[in-house]
Symmetry: C2
Subunit: 412 residues, 2 copies
């Protein structure tokens, strides 16, 4: 058994994961994003100060054999900010970077929440304009659209940390308490009224008032207009109840939800204009924003959505393990079969043959079980080879010298 | 900075890594192999007993917040054997499975050896015949061929653990000492004579004699013949000096080297017919063999090989960040640009545009820097759009309604 909260990916699971990853990559690239990666293990310090209290408590942390305090990455943004602080001079701004890290948090495993998951992270670095906020939110929307979801299925709720920091200023909350209070406000949307009053104290009333009345800003209206110009405005709404738990967000924040409310947030992100400066001790200051979408909730949503699920199933059915199976009908043809198999593989075809001795019906059975479109049979007719189209049931004798050419023509 | 021995993959590094992974996947699939994955963190026990002393000493191990003794995976085979023991009944044998895990060992970082690397692992499970050994070795050879290496560049040295266990029996070495002695023999090939005599004691003389005289077996000759039938015999030779360090190997073992002897082993593997039974406490017994090839040594070899390096460079040059750049020549055209950008992305094109205000020459400069083939300019001629082929320097005015169609025809 794998550890609790960790997954084995058997080939069918892997294929489903790969379907998700491939779509993530395809859509991110349409936005000009390029892929990067960083280490799954980093110095503990990178997360302790930057990610916030909740993440710090859930770290897989330990002391390595060299006495270093290290942790498995709970998220990708600190690694990205570290890399950008060190290397940004080599790149034209804005950076459009994405990655698909596996991330780790020690928490109680529950539905839609494991101890590891994969995340698409997309970050836009070096552009302060809210145009960048809209571009990134549009990318998040297009990711969902690529799987077959519509504005009837999902909504992105867009908010602004500045809206809340203005509020905290007006309520005279001392700045050092902001991260904790913001995290409490973030949670309060999902908590009963009494719990909110208990946690937020005198701030509870004005916060609940804002939750009821709503709130907005010129910046948020501009982002919404930008999304409308693209034709995806119906996926988005302004909703200041979104705050986000992470400590480092500074401006626009957003989260993607299913309209049915069956799942937790599908994706989330926002601006973190101070993080690169913090991680470079002030040497480099770069405005930045990003979002992450995980594979667990998304995978569940796909499996429960009629269109999305049938798209997935269609894609998996189109990618069988092999194209061709070589049936060895006479043991003395084995060496000839090996030569043919090698030639076909060299041309890129996927091909199998029996490694041990196996009767002919069993070999055809193996061919079909593995999804082969063609079987080639080496037997009595040698040096002619019988080529059988397994779907159509047609069979044709082909001379050995013409075989490779024939197959290349027969398989599209 | 990343931790010592760990790598950041900036986009150019990632692209090079992806080139390697893509070829790995392509060749493994030609052999009918399907991809799987397992957790990077496992119970410590999985490695302590099965992998052997050397690996046990190099584990990234710790106690998690639930009190479990866990370790980052130092290799993939124990995870695979664990998964196969649990699930093999659901699959037709033999299994042809591959994976590309990142693996971790705490050792002194040095050239070609970091604390993490990625490995292609290919395993054939449920077939005891040496035909399977030959099939797997042929796959390892074809992996190298796919990068442009020939039999002049690389050689696979094939040996047999059974050859050595027969030897240990004849020398009356007690069975519980075999793993240690086999590991010592494995190392002795790379050590000075005095050191070998010191480590192996009375076994040193017969071992060195075998190293000098060579040795072979019917099984090994059969494997070589099989490889010759495929036309790749010149990549292989029998060489019993290969033993392999891992504790669990039981039969055929092999390692791939550069003929120039500049690098350590590029790849290695062998039969582990007992491991699945060990990990299922005897419930499941399945013959199996596999090999692994890492990305670090292979990457270095590619960069130093003229043909392999130019293949790599050609592939990277053919995959620019974007296809099209939208030049916004008038601020009032921004909303129109967003609509066009969205339409082109929906058709799969990679496209960027300026997020902030930027003068026109700078926008064209950005287009070229990102590798765009086309620039489209929205300005005075609106509702006509100027489409510029950046390589040819040609420009053409196209009506807005014909634009998407025109571009789809212009870009292959």
């Amino acid at each position: 058994m794998p550890l609790p909260g960790f997954r084995d990916f058997l080939p069918a699971d892997w294929a489903e994961r790969n379907y998700i990853f491939a779509k993530w990559r395809e859509v991110a690239r349409r936005y000009g994003f390029v892929e990067f990666d960083g280490p799954p293990l980093e110095e503990l310090e990178l997360y302790q100060k930057k990610s916030g209290e909740e993440i710090a408590q859930q770290l897989y942390e330990f002391v390595d054999k060299g006495g270093r305090h290290v942790a498995l990455r709970p998220e990708m943004t600190p690694t990205l900010a570290r890399m950008v602080a060190a290397h940004h001079r080599d790149f034209r701004k804005p950076l459009r970077w994405f990655s698909i890290p596996q991330v780790f948090r020690y928490e109680r495993p529950q539905r839609g929440r494991l101890r590891e998951h994969f995340q698409l992270n997309c970050d836009l670095i070096g552009e302060a304009s809210p145009e960048a906020d809209a571009e990134l939110i549009a990318l998040a929307i297009d990711i969902l659209r690529a799987f077959g979801f519509t504005a009837q299925d999902v909504v992105v709720r867009i908010s602004d940390r500045e809206f809340w920091t203005e509020f905290l200023k007006s309520e005279r909350v001392p700045e050092e308490r902001w991260p904790d209070v913001l995290q409490a406000i973030d949670k309060s949307e999902r908590e009963p009224r009494e719990k909110i009053v208990e946690t937020l104290g005198p701030l509870a009333r004005p916060v609940l008032e804002i939750f009821e009345k709503g709130g907005e800003s010129t910046k948020l209206r501009g982002i919404l207009e930008n999304l409308r110009a693209r034709g995806v405005g119906d996926f988005a709404k302004i909703d200041v109840r979104i705050v986000r738990g992470l400590a480092y967000y500074t401006g626009t924040v957003f989260e993607l939800f299913d309209r049915g409310g069956k799942f937790r947030a599908i994706a989330g992100g926002g601006r973190y204009d101070q993080l690169v400066a913090q991680l470079s001790d002030g040497a480099t200051s770069l405005p930045a924003l990003g979002f992450a979408i995980g594979d667990v909730v998304l995978g569940e949503m796909i499996r429960r959505h009629e269109v999305a699920r049938s798209e997935l199933e269609r894609a998996l059915a189109q990618d069988p393990a092999i194209d061709i199976y070589a049936v060895i009908a006479k043991p003395e043809r084995r060496a000839d079969a090996l030569a043919i198999v090698q030639q076909l593989r060299d041309r890129g075809w996927r091909i199998e043959y029996p490694l041990g001795s196996m009767n002919i019906p069993k070999q055809f059975h193996a061919a079909e079980a593995r999804g082969a479109r063609l079987a080639i049979l080496l037997g009595d007719e040698w040096p002619q080879v019988a080529v059988k189209d397994l779907a159509a049931g047609r069979q044709q004798l082909v001379a050995r010298e013409q075989l490779i050419e024939y197959i290349t023509a027969a398989l599209p």
